[in-house]
């Protein structure tokens, strides 16, 4: 079983996101580690790209901070190596950075280096299944997962195409638009989950989840995991703005992570569904 599959195997998975290097290298290491203490099962670690078209203002600002503090693909891999966490890591970034790395002109060098640093999988929001062949191959060669997003608009043939390519987990986008914490929970979640119900990978729901209560409801709706980015990045942003010490921000992140993880656990306790077969 892959490390990501294991992370989903017993109970609902809490999958937080932070941008690596936001607002600076050292603090960011502490923040990611705090997420694990708060109960993270998988961590999505953003590698900042200058044109993050799938991101809302919160994560976009995080990316700007990280880039300004000197984050690069090379630094990112060092960051992953410097991290002291045991949970699987998913690299979330855009295709141009993957494509340009090393010799350039293809994803092979990037995936090799990522796997060596300890990355378990990738989410690449601007790479639809149609264009993903070369990256899929490189992932297979290095034992990495390639996670795809299914949007509320994804239907018919596109679902099939993604199903045949996805591994690790399927990222179920809870609402249209870009990333960003919302006060309410989209009513399209259940409908979206329905469409991937018979896929043999775990289903993790993201986009707009910001509270333990949301997390609970997402799991109750049938998800195997919850992905939370902006609500956590907000804490980093506020800390950076106010100049709070990193330990203070880290402990807030840990607290927020715990709230979200506990929400997910509550959602599962009333929810004794058999888990789908894992590969």
């Amino acid at each position: 079983m892959s490390r990501i599959a294991e992370a989903f195997a017993d109970g609902p998975a809490f999958v937080p996101y932070l941008a690596a290097g936001d607002p600076d290298y050292e603090s960011s290491l502490a923040y990611v580690e705090a997420l694990e203490r708060g109960g993270a099962d998988v961590i999505e670690l953003g590698l900042p790209f200058s044109e993050p078209i799938a991101e809302g203002p919160t994560i976009q600002s995080a990316i700007v901070r990280a880039l300004e503090a000197g984050m690069t693909p090379t630094r990112y891999f060092e960051f992953v190596e410097d991290l002291d966490v045991d949970v699987p890591l998913v690299c979330m970034t855009y295709y141009n950075l993957i494509y340009q790395f090393g010799e350039g002109g293809g994803p092979a060098d990037f995936v090799r280096r990522a796997a060596e640093a300890g990355v378990d999988g990738f989410v690449v929001p601007d790479l639809p299944a149609e264009e993903a062949g070369p990256l899929r191959e490189a992932c297979d060669e290095h034992g990495c997962e390639l996670i795809f997003i299914v949007a509320p608009t994804t239907k018919g043939e596109r679902l099939e195409r993604i199903m045949s390519q996805v591994s690790g987990y399927v990222y179920v986008q809870a609402r249209l638009g870009t990333t960003g914490a919302r006060a309410d929970l989209s009513d399209r979640t259940a409908e979206s989950l329905e469409r991937v119900a018979d896929w043999d990978v775990p289903k993790a729901v993201g986009f707009g989840i910001s509270t333990g209560d949301h997390a609970q409801r997402v799991i109750e709706a049938g998800a195997d995991g919850v992905i939370v980015g902006s609500a956590l990045v907000d804490i980093v942003a506020t800390g950076a703005e106010r100049g709070d010490p990193a330990v203070t921000v880290a402990s807030k992140l840990e607290g927020k992570a715990r709230e979200l993880k506990e929400g997910a656990l509550r959602g599962a306790s009333g929810n004794e569904r058999p888990h789908p077969e894992r590969t």
């Binding site: 700007v64 141009n96 950075l97 608009t153 994804t154 249209l176 638009g177």
Partner: protein, 416 residues
């Protein structure tokens, strides 16, 4: 060209978030039916509106004094006379009309110089569609007349403050809006860039420039030109004026990029002091397609620069990039000073105030007319009214050949 696969050699493709893919497939289908197959008489409707509302055909004018200066026959394709003052209307009208045929209810667009935003706002007013335009804060400041024009036509202008506040940030922001509202909204992309089918579709809407120009050259010069020269930002007027000449092997095609202040790149700062993507860029993936882009060694997109907002973009159309790779199109550059000189020269010798974008093409002809043959066709992609404040500011304190004494304008307050 293979618009069916969306690839031009290695370039093109569809690199967009999953939420947008169904909309792009829907657009692909609409492009094939309405634009390529003229379903429901779409293309007839489009051409009729281009004539009645847009003022097509635009003239191909023999420029007598330039001809004398260069000892060649110089013809100007006058896209500056198109309604709105630039070639941008061809595409904007085509796309807004297409959106209407598709049953979309809302139009969004991005704009650099404001010409595309203006054209889109006009097309929307003409066709009764609500319109929102994203524009970088910096571009809003340097293209104020166009901001006002968009608002006069009923469009909302949304300032984009991230990054340097230019076209590339505005495109990213418009893609975000599209991702959130994709079900009822059409994104009118402003050039031959973005995911398939945009590059092919925008070219087909702009193709009318070369359809006319080719016929007009035959009639007026009695033959095809030896060379066609035009500016290239994203490449829409470029592909428009080249499209029908691509198969004419004897016609040389020149895409003139913005050389800005220098062709050297500041790697440290991640800034290219130019927008010369074809000439200095490398292959990458930006805003939905694989193409040439200005990027650093890691693949981060660089800030570009040009005195003309409409050329200030770090990417370029994938088809144009492929034509340059195939040596069918020659990519060249003219710097900010050369463009300013071209601006003043055309204003004084021909009584035509060109857009700063178009002035790049005129700058190239000045320096290289000896290599361009006996019949030279220059595309004047737009008029320069929008650029007057910029030209005043940029000419002041520089040694621009042929410029009027700019200081007198200031002391008499003539421009305020």
């Amino acid at each position: 060209m293979s618009s069916d696969t969306g690839k031009f050699g290695e370039y093109g493709g569809q690199y967009v978030p999953e939420a947008l893919m169904p909309a792009i497939e829907e657009l692909e289908d609409a492009y094939e039916r309405y634009v390529l197959d003229n379903e429901d008489g779409f293309m007839d409707d489009f051409r009729e509106r281009l004539a009645d509302f847009g003022g097509r055909p635009t003239p191909l004018q023999r420029a007598d004094r330039l001809s004398e200066r260069y000892d060649a026959e110089v013809y100007l394709k006058r896209e500056d006379l198109l309604h709105g003052g630039a070639h941008k209307l061809n595409n904007a009208l085509g796309q807004v009309l297409l959106a209407k045929y598709m049953g979309k209810e809302r139009i969004i667009a991005e704009t650099g110089a404001g010409q595309h935003g203006t054209a889109t706002a006009m097309a929307c007013a003409h066709l009764g569609m609500p319109c929102e335009v994203y524009m970088g804060r910096r571009d809003i400041n340097r293209q104020r007349p166009n901001v006002f024009r968009m608002r006069l036509n009923g469009a909302d202008v949304n300032p984009v403050t991230v990054g340097r506040g230019t076209l590339k940030e505005a495109i990213s922001e418009t893609m975000r809006d599209w991702a959130a509202n994709v079900e009822d909204t059409h994104y009118v992309i402003g050039s031959v860039v973005g995911p398939h089918p945009f590059p092919a579709m925008v070219r087909d809407f702009q193709r009318v420039i070369s359809e006319e120009a080719r016929e007009q050259a035959r009639e007026q010069a009695g033959r095809l030109p030896d060379s066609v020269v035009t500016c290239a930002g994203g490449g829409s007027n470029t592909m428009g004026v080249f499209a029908e000449f691509v198969d004419d092997a004897d016609v040389a095609l020149y895409a003139v990029e913005a050389g800005g202040s220098s062709l050297e790149v500041d790697e440290e700062a991640g800034v290219a002091p130019n927008s010369a993507t074809l000439s200095t860029g490398t292959e990458g993936v930006l805003h939905g397609s694989r193409t040439r882009v200005l990027q650093d060694r890691d693949g981060q997109i660089m800030e570009s620069h040009s005195v003309s907002a409409g050329l200030d973009y770090a990417g370029v159309g994938p088809e144009l990039a492929a034509l340059v790779d195939r040596d069918r199109v020659t990519a060249v550059t003219v710097d900010d000073d050369g463009a300013l000189e071209g601006f003043h020269r055309l204003s004084q010798l021909e009584g035509i105030i060109p857009a700063l974008e178009s002035a790049h093409a005129l700058g190239y002809v000045e320096d290289h007319h000896d290599d361009l043959g006996d019949v030279i066709l220059v595309n004047v992609s737009g008029r320069g009214d929008k650029d007057l404040e910029t030209v005043l500011e940029e000419t002041h304190g520089r040694d621009i050949e042929g410029a009027p004494d700019i200081d007198t304008f200031e002391t008499t307050g003539g421009f305020q």
